[in-house]
Structures are given as structure tokens and as C-alpha cells.
Amino acid sequence: MTRIFDILLYALLISCALMVIRTKDLLGAAIIFSTYSLVMCLVWQLRGSPDVALTEAAVGAGVTSVLFLITVARTTRRER
């Protein structure tokens, strides 16, 4: 059961990483990237490192996403 969950998480992680590169919509890319961080946070927790999981949730999924979104809002939404 844990193994299936692991495989599911890693598949989600890899597909998020690929989609961030593929997508041309920068707003969408920022949101997918924060999803990546959230999944990564679960992975850290499952690997037994709650300290890193907390950091990932706060910094990766929270603060950097906001900074990305602000950058998109102040520049342009489409990749050229």
C-alpha cells in the first residue's frame, strides 16, 4: 500500500516537473510548481524528515509561489 502511494507521488512529481517546463502560461506554471512543492513536502514527510517537510511547505509551496505570482502579475503572463 505504501509502495503504491510512493509510486503515485513520484509519478505526480515527475509529471509536475515536466508540465512546468512544457506549459507556456506562466501563471499556470507557477501554480503547477507550487503543487510540485506540496507533493515534495509529502515525500519528505514519508521519508521521515518532518523538519524538511515543514520548510518545503512554508517556503516552497507558500512563499516562493507568492513571489512567482507577483512577478507574473507585474510582468507578463505568456512566455515569449
Binding site: P50, D51, L54, T55, V63, V66, L67, I70
Partner: protein, 244 residues
Amino acid sequence: MRRALIIALLVLAAVPLLFGVSQLPPIGSTGNPTYTHVVPRYLEEGAEEAGAENIVTAVILNYRGYDTNGEVTVIFTALVAVLGVLTFAKATAAKSEPAEETPVPAPPMPVSPVTRFIVRILAPFILLFSIYMVIYGHTSPGGGFQGGTIVGALLIAVSLVSGSAQAKRLLPERIRPWLQPAAVLAFALVGVAGLWLIGPYLSFPVEGELVFLRTPWLTIIEFGIGIGGAAIVASIFWAMEGSD
């Protein structure tokens, strides 16, 4: 042609890397160097020796205190760089184009009442949780970095919901320059105290009558990192948002 060249270069880079990885000892084997040198010492005596039951905190703040001191300096430098670049950009823009061509500020985004309500309700609990995380960082997961970032994220949420001017009153202009380098200052304080009382810079008491200072020192550093982290995260947000 260019594509083939790129693929060839990638393969050329991948072969030595994969060869190197294949030479690594198997993951999880007890004979690995990572498990034979310092790790047993950390795990067996860390809680006793470093004054923190959470081994991660013991390693980060006590055994590898120099590393963390460098890290908080790097984070503070990042803030200085962001402020420098953005303020410089603003100054040159103001100089090159006079008053008639002022950049149009982004229209304030309408915040949904649901978001506003939820942020208002949750804000005190988030703050309480982050303070708990900082105080109990040496016994349970979490610590200054995590708690501070959560406070910073909370300040960002408050800025988004009720405007930056409102949120900035929580971190007044007058004391903000002292809060931003709080982590560096806390490390300097504890480091010099160690230099004065024990021996080398940033040394913690291991035994003797000064041993009671260990946990308070860790707590001072945790609070410094927490306050500094929160101020830095919020300041970077305000600088990028353009309200500073």
C-alpha cells in the same frame, strides 16, 4: 545539426556521471561512510551533548553552527540584493522618465470575502502555531526557519487581504532594519558569548556550571532566525510588490 550536437554533449556529460553514481556504495548499507563517522555520535549523544532533543536542531544549531551562521548571512544578503536591485531600478526609472510617464500601478485585486474571512479567522492561530514551532524547535520538528517563514507568509496574506499599509504597521519602519538582520545578530551575540565564556567563536558549553546556558542560547538563536526570517520574507514581498 545543433540538436545532434546538444544530444552528443548531454551523453558525454551523462556517461561519467552515471559511472560515478554506479560506484557509490548501496543505499542503506550500514557500512556507508555516512553511517560510520559522525552520525552514531550525533544519534547517541546529540540529545545529551547539544542540549536539543530534536537531533536535527542539535546538528543545525550546535554541531554545524558555523554552517547555519553562514546560511542566515546568505539569506540576509539575498534581501539586501533584492532591495538594492529593485530600489536601484526604481531610482533609474524615476530619473530617466519625468513625472508625466509614471508607471501605472496595478489595479488592486478584489479579494473575495471568503478569503478575507478565512485569513482573518486563521491569522491568530497561524501566529500561535509559528511561535510554538520556534519555542519548541529544539524538542519537536520545526524551528526558527520554519516558524519565521510561516510568520512571513502570514504577513503576506494579511497584505493581500487588507493592503500592505495595514500589514506594515505590524512591522514598523522604525524597527524593521533591526529585525531584518535579527538572525545574524543573534548568532553574533551567542558566538561572542561563547568566545568570551568558553573558547572558540560559537562554542556551546558541554559540561561544567555553564551547561544551563545551552538551551537558552539555542532558543535565542531560534528566535533570531524566526524574527529575521519573517522580516526578510515580508520585506522581499513588499519590495517586489512595489509598495516599498
